[in-house]
Symmetry: C4
Subunit: 235 residues, 4 copies
């Protein structure tokens, strides 16, 4: 019943590429048009990102689960949703897809294919932000996918829409997107040197939420009829 691995990996590639296109592209457009008002630029960036997540999870969810995020893939592998070997393929496709997405966004706005970002994003407040943001993201995914999986796309889109505004880091909450954002020296960028800290904080948040929901909702909905993150029972 589950699509073949090449199909799923391809879905992760395109899903992550389009997510990064939305994040980076709308950042460029927002900054260009906002006349110096950062709230307006971030509002455009937020709406585009949240809406893209809704569309992409609805589109690719039934094929690959639409993780489009190595932290989600890690958590899903922890819970037995996919094998660790498959998780490695997923993560590679996500990172490569993210990079291609950043390049495509740059090209669509007549910029150089790749330009390393100079935007500093560091310090304890930002790392705590990424921990909280990814903890929340995985909480939303586990809460919804176990008990009302048809709503995951809307829940995740809504969550990230909120999270852009409630964290100083604007909630990257996604290692593949974090790496990809370092490849565009524009509004949504991040200095390559700040990437590892963000990724570690994200993984910590994802793992913490996964342990919490193991206790909160013990039995995954293995028989749900509309499953974005399909699961076998954990032995």
């Amino acid at each position: 019943m589950r699509p073949s691995l090449p199909r799923r990996v391809t879905a992760e590639f395109f899903g992550t590429a389009f997510l990064v296109v939305a994040v980076v592209g709308s950042g460029i457009m927002g900054e260009r048009l906002a006349g110096g008002n950062a709230a307006l630029a971030l509002l455009a960036n937020t709406i585009a990102t949240g809406a893209a997540l809704v569309a992409l999870i609805l589109t690719f969810g039934p094929i690959s689960g639409a993780h489009v995020n190595p932290a989600v893939t890690l958590a899903d592998a922890m819970e037995g949703g996919l094998a660790w070997s498959e998780a490695a393929y997923y993560a590679c496709a996500q990172v490569i897809g993210g990079g291609c997405g950043a390049a495509a966004a740059n090209l669509m706005f007549s910029l150089r294919v790749v330009s390393l970002s100079h935007r500093t994003r560091s310090g304890p407040a930002q790392l705590f932000s990424e921990f909280v943001a990814t903890f929340g993201l995985l909480s939303v995914i586990w809460g919804c996918s176990r008990l009302r999986s048809g709503a995951v796309a809307f829940a995740v889109g809504a969550y990230i829409t909120a999270a852009y505004w409630f964290t100083e880091s604007t909630s990257f909450a996604n290692p593949a997107v974090t790496i990809a954002r370092s490849l565009s020296d524009t509004f949504s960028g991040i200095r390559p040197a700040d990437v590892p800290g963000f990724v570690l904080a994200q993984i910590a948040g994802a793992v913490a939420a996964t342990y919490l929901f193991r206790w909160l909702v013990p039995r995954p909905a293995s028989h749900s009829k509309d499953v974005v993150l399909p699961h076998r029972e954990r032995e």
Copy 2:
């Protein structure tokens, strides 16, 4: 079938904490970036709060009902949805969760963990606003949860999105969030001295709507298949 009380109370804690993170955090971010335009700051605050409610109710609804609001818990106890002893646990978890959420938001923006708000919110127009806002919130919850409970998350998110703009008080409509907002001297704050009036007006609105809907929709949908606020028949 219903999750254990510790699980439900934990869900209320995290749900309320994240709601307050969204309310307070997006207020800080909005004000910082909006360049003095209060409409833009409130727009960011509104979108983040409404979206967070959608995500949180979808996530925690199947576990605890996702009240994240002592006024909702009170109304639900009035209607027999949960025992009064359970309601007390819920309310404590909501108030403590809200406080932790305010602290987390302050920390994510490099502010002191707690700072009492100096923002005055008082007078008959604001109290009437809170009465109307909470009357409307409970109307939405009772109307939807009895007859189309799968839509509660979207209805509540949409309602609060609207209510932020149609009341002079910006519709707190939630005693736990009201208390928590007094702990951050930022955009969304409220002076501790103004909290009791807000809470009383909110409770009055919640009780009034509950009586109205007892008459409007006499039989709660005890057999609904996707129930955010599950109920036993009232004797």
Copy 3:
């Protein structure tokens, strides 16, 4: 099965009152905060109105159909959805509810209970706008309620969100709301002298769309399980 007429009329009263609270209240708030930028004020007004419609139709739809609009009630009576005598009660409740909503909005912002609007809204472009806006609204309602009634709340909310921006009149599209808006001399107001023209254009648009959809979708979904506008088969 259908709730009693007093319950349905009460639902129309509160539904229309809250709709007008959202329209008028968010107009006042938007104008106060927007610092003279009319686009920002209208954006706030739009988001609040669209979101309120989603919440109100989900809440009151299962009770009374959530017409909250005499033009919808007229069209529904034309199609046999409710008796003409019931339609008269509906329309009265909507007009009175709208007036109470305007008064409540004024009070929540510390304004006088009622103040007649001085805002001119007239001329052929505005009347044509109201015709098109109401034609579109009834098209959305008939298209959705006959074939996928569970989505009506979202479709109507989305439609009005769009229509605020694609008409010079900002799409009142509702005789009860038009009358109520004349009772608040604020952002969303309309001069009493301009009300009759708006109402006639709205009725013409509603009737035209009803005739079009009689041909486009001949058989109403009388057996739909989640019906916002329930219908008996037309003989």
Copy 4:
């Protein structure tokens, strides 16, 4: 079961007309009110367009599939969803409907019925943008309509909301809308000379996505109960 061709063609006419009314009208309104801030004008344009798509696909989807886009009709004909002769009728209705929509929008804002746009939209970045935008649109449609067709309206509305901001061209992604936009010398316009390049890039994107999803999701959901783009099995 499928409505007659005249009914479906009429639905495509009105659907495309209202889509263009929303695109062109909200562009005029946004620019008028935004006080020179292009981000605000585009934000209004975006929200109106995305919301209109949700409403129109929910309304006309069950009648004609709500293609409202010759690129979608082309892709659907490639996959056997409708006959090529029907596709020709669809495309004519869409182009004529789009033109009528542009005229109606002009009239609603007291402008001349038709005025050719002088807005230049050309160059490789814009053409690449249109390719990517339409590739993404058809990906969303194929991914959703084959596996969860009830969500197509929301997915398409969300996708275009995002795409307005992640492309330099603001994602027309629709040949009928592109032609119609050349008929209004306003915010959302395009010079007639730039139309053919846009249309070719859009068709290329639509065809590429259709081939990708033939491989990604081989079996269309011919038995889905809520099908926006109904399909017979491909032999």
